[in-house]
């Protein structure tokens, strides 16, 4: 299964995400994206059903797999402020569809990281292949991961 970048920005290795749960791949492997300042539209990384959406994060189920995109770190503390949802729980979405609007620059100015971990939930590390190298720039909607 192909997983697409939810936002444009610089690709970062998961182990370099400044959050131990993501960095240690406790919920799964993947890649993170340090979003461009104008990456205000977060796209569905896969086509599937929304298992759970929060203002700052979404899990989409597809082919019995779960893909998590988390917009920034500790952004749950913002209680949804600055985030606009364009999808709801249990809704079917297409990869590339806008599901959340937010302002990564405002998140940074609020003293939080705006990094977006994209996680292949509970996947084996060897089944998940990065298609963009850390340090490179990725555009929203561009292929990011291949999950066997």
């Amino acid at each position: 299964m192909r997983v697409f970048a939810p936002v444009s920005g610089k690709v970062v290795a998961m182990e370099d995400v400044p959050d131990p749960v993501f960095a240690q791949a406790i919920v799964g492997p993947g890649l993170a994206i340090e979003p461009d300042a104008d990456a205000t539209k977060a796209l569905a990384p896969v086509s599937g059903r929304i298992a759970k959406i929060h203002p700052h994060a979404v899990v989409i189920e597809a082919e019995a797999k779960g893909v998590l995109a988390h917009l920034g770190l500790n952004t749950v503390e913002l209680n949804g402020q600055g985030f606009t949802l364009h999808a709801a729980d249990n809704e079917d979405v297409q990869a590339g569809q806008i599901i959340i609007e937010w302002d990564p620059q405002a998140v940074r100015e609020g003293g939080r990281s705006a990094i977006v971990p994209v996680v292949a939930m509970q996947a084996k590390a060897e089944d998940v292949h990065g298609l963009v190298a850390p340090g490179e720039h990725v555009n929203a909607g561009q292929a990011l991961l291949e999950w066997d």
Binding site: V21, I26, V27, A51, A57, V59, V76
Partner: protein, 76 residues
């Protein structure tokens, strides 16, 4: 004992919990006394991981975090 009951007990029960906030894959918990948190008990609930920093405890439970938080509230 259900997963929610085990986690609740591992956190030292409701008396020790200031707040539980589910966030997609983890329960972000503020406790009164970190010494009352029983790591072994929490791990016996089949959790993915545990992060502790003072009285802030994060119990990584996977995608069912919201449901587990609801189940814990239901025990109140």
């Amino acid at each position: 004992m259900s997963k929610a009951e085990t986690i609740l007990e591992g956190l030292g029960g409701f008396d020790n919990i200031v707040e539980i906030e589910p966030c997609i894959t983890r329960l972000r918990v503020q406790v009164n006394d970190a010494a009352l948190v029983d790591d072994a008990k929490l791990k016996s609930a089949g959790i993915f991981g545990l992060m502790k920093s003072g009285t802030a405890v994060q119990v990584v439970v996977g995608p069912e975090a919201d449901n587990i938080a609801d189940d814990i509230e239901d025990l109140r």
